[in-house]
């Protein structure tokens, strides 16, 4: 294992290089609450992160941790009548949460775009792929249909669709799953947005295609120099492509840091759980997936103290503090912060001694 200073140097180098650039996206104390009949669902409850141009943030967490709610909040897609939003989402300095609906609409698809998990259900079944890309392009660019069509074909060829001038007139159901997701990416990138959010872009695809799609997104990101957020519940997906990783649990960040550091020195027991539940192809099938025990907590009445304590195998050791005091998200070296009472030193010990050998 590398010693601390070496890791530090490696981890902070890109950060310094980017320091003169203001992050394209700044999320500050974001909260998204849904009033429901059962009570207030605190789907996202105090989230901070930034993404700079040319950088990739991976948001990881199990189902229900608030990943999609976060991304919809960034795009300003929550109905204001249904969701209570607070905090700030600054895109290039413009606050999405405070801005007028029309202002946000003009940014959506134009300065920030999103691609979704299931490309088949995310495309309109009655319109051709081309028509849908053309629509996305023309809503923000005052160009003729012909020019927009040329743009659609250009985008399709850019994302690697063969014979784009023919396929542009196909309907989504005539595309394969991977092709569809490529087309979604073409649509998302058509206006050259500074920020692209991909919400589980590969979950619905088979493994070989997954890698191609990730590869493609990385390629386009380099080409367009955009900021990229990849949302997933699978750490494998982001291990290769992300620069930073944000681990979410019950609407909050529990660990946040540069990818190399986070994989080498994960500090939160929940992250350890995610790491050990990564499917391991070198193991026999039954032994491949080791999910974290227990179920995600209620977002209406989250557990007192640390929200993860009911499922945390280490909560017993520290005792009472885990279920009485909510830990802060504390920043350690290398921009690596963790929300756990163990603290970085103890966490390191436990990880090296008990968790790592099992991975």
């Amino acid at each position: 294992m590398t010693d601390r200073s070496a890791t530090m140097a490696a981890g902070s180098a890109p950060a310094t290089a980017d320091a003169h650039r203001r992050p394209l996206l700044e999320v500050k104390d974001l909260r998204v609450h849904f009033p429901t009949e059962d009570g207030l669902v605190k789907a996202v409850d105090g989230l901070d992160f930034t993404v700079a141009k040319g950088r990739t943030l991976g948001i990881v967490g199990e189902s229900g941790s608030g990943k999609s709610v976060t991304s919809l909040a960034i795009l300003g897609l929550h109905k204001r009548t249904r969701a209570q939003l607070s905090g700030e989402v600054l895109l290039d300095g413009v606050d999405i949460i405070g801005a007028a609906e029309e202002t946000v609409r003009r940014l959506r698809g134009n300065k920030m775009a999103m691609i979704f998990q299931d490309p088949l259900s995310s495309m309109h079944p009655y319109y051709t792929v081309g028509a849908q890309i053309i629509e996305a392009y023309r809503v923000h660019n005052n160009v003729s249909k012909r020019a927009a069509r040329a743009r659609a074909i250009e985008m399709l060829s850019l994302v690697g669709i063969p014979q784009p001038d023919r396929r542009v007139d196909d309907y989504p159901h005539q595309f394969s799953g991977g092709m569809r997701q490529r087309a979604m990416i073409a649509m998302g990138m058509s206006c050259n947005p500074g920020l692209l959010i991909a919400d589980e872009p590969t979950t619905a695809l088979d493994v070989t295609v997954q890698a191609q799609i990730l590869e493609l997104m990385k390629k386009l990101q380099r080409e367009f120099d955009s900021a990229l957020i990849i949302i997933t519940h699978d750490l494998c997906v982001v291990a290769e492509v992300a620069d930073d990783i944000l681990v979410m649990y019950a609407g909050r960040a529990v660990e946040h840091g540069p990818v190399a550091d986070l994989f080498r020195r994960p500090e939160h027991p929940y992250t350890w759980g995610l790491l050990s539940s990564m499917p391991r192809l070198d193991r026999v099938r039954e032994d491949r997936l080791r999910p974290i025990k227990g179920t995600p907590p209620s977002l209406i009445n989250p557990p007192p103290g640390c929200r993860f304590h009911p499922r945390c195998p280490y909560a017993q050791r520290l005792g009472e503090i885990c279920w009485t005091v909510e830990p802060e998200l504390l920043e350690g070296p290398n921009d690596h912060s963790t929300r756990c009472h163990l603290g970085p030193v103890k966490a390191r010990e436990v990880f090296v001694a008990e968790v790592e050998p099992l991975l």
Binding site: L77, F116, H124, V139, H173
Partner: protein
């Protein structure tokens, strides 16, 4: 696409043929001796047998069916009293009660039924769909609740009730409308004002009934569509909400409505018995009802076949339309 059309057409023709067999079978098998209708009081067995032979109903069923189908194809002659009457193709039979070919009776009643159905259809389609869409977009608001309450009433109130209320209020009490001239509702010669006055109440009453269920169906369909992933995509593209609702939402949500509309209209063209009866309009439905009361089997059978024809045609039209609307149907 062409193969799809052809397939649909063949299926339609086969269905129509099956319908003729079934309808013909039922009307010939049901008890009741047609000869009795023409014989005097207490006829002797020989007289009855003679009449049966003349009507051709003593022949075996398949032969009778063949004769009937031949009439449909090339026309046939009917022995009525002293002289033979020729019934042109497509001959749907001969009403001995009224002494005219059935088809003539049908084509005379059809304009009334068609006018009623078309006017009502236009009203209920516009009314039902717009209320349904608005209700869906404003789910849970005062408008939505009121609209859904009224439409529940619309679904559950029978036409003879709303029709009578309409007649008593607008014709008898307020006298905004003249009483319907049931013999010539279109006026004689044709008079658009009188036509409008004759049909406005039936239109509204019939439309209210249908609009209610269309509003409910549209609302459900629209709510479902607006929660689809592709609507979220449309919003994520930055489209104005109006475009999202119309071009993406309604386009998909109204597809099932088109299907229902085609079938409802097809069925209505076969006669709206209750409405026609309530307003005394001599459409296909009322004519069929009168035929039943008078045991005029040929007329009932002819009307039934005619109505079946409309329903089958409507089915084909709807399928073809569906293929045009939904590329997944067209291109698979």
């Amino acid at each position: 696409m062409f193969r799809f059309l052809l397939k649909r057409l063949i299926v339609g023709i086969v269905t129509l043929w099956v319908v003729t067999v079934v309808v013909f079978g039922i009307f010939t098998i049901i008890p009741g001796d047609p000869a009795l209708v023409y014989a005097g009081k207490d006829p002797s067995a020989e007289v009855l047998a003679g009449i049966r032979a003349k009507l051709g109903v003593d022949k075996p069923l398949p032969e009778q069916y063949a004769t009937f189908m031949k009439g449909v194809a090339v026309g046939r002659d009917f022995p009525t009293g002293p002289k033979m009457v020729h019934c042109d193709a497509p001959c749907l039979g001969y009403s001995y009660k009224k002494d005219v070919p059935v088809l003539g009776l049908i084509t005379r009643a059809l304009p009334i039924t068609a006018t009623m159905a078309a006017g009502a259809a236009l009203l209920w389609l516009l009314g039902g769909v717009s209320v349904g869409v608005l209700s869906a977009l404003r789910r849970g608001t005062f408008f939505d609740r009121i609209a859904m309450t009224i439409s529940l009433a619309g679904v559950s109130l029978p036409v003879y009730f709303t029709g009578l209320i309409g007649l008593s209020v607008f014709v008898y009490q307020l006298q905004w409308l003249p009483a319907i001239d049931t013999n010539s509702p279109f006026g004689n010669p044709f008079d658009p004002v009188q036509t409008f006055q004759s049909f406005i109440l039936p239109w509204v009453v019939l439309a209210f009934l249908y609009a209610a269920s269309y509003a409910r169906l549209t609302r459900t369909s629209m709510l479902e569509t607006m929660s689809e992933d592709y609507i979220r995509t449309a919003r994520a593209k930055g489209l104005p909400e109006r475009t999202v609702v119309t071009r993406h939402g309604m386009r998909a949500a109204l597809t099932p409505i088109v299907t229902m509309f085609g079938l409802d209209l097809g069925a209505l063209l076969g006669g709206a018995i209750l409405t026609e009866y309530t307003f005394g309009l001599q459409g296909l439905g009322k004519q069929a009802l009168d035929a039943i009361n008078k045991f005029d089997y040929p007329l009932i059978m002819g009307t039934t076949l005619f109505a079946a024809f409309f329903i089958i045609v409507a089915n084909i039209v709807v399928d073809v339309l569906y293929a045009f609307i939904d590329p997944r149907v067209r291109l698979s």
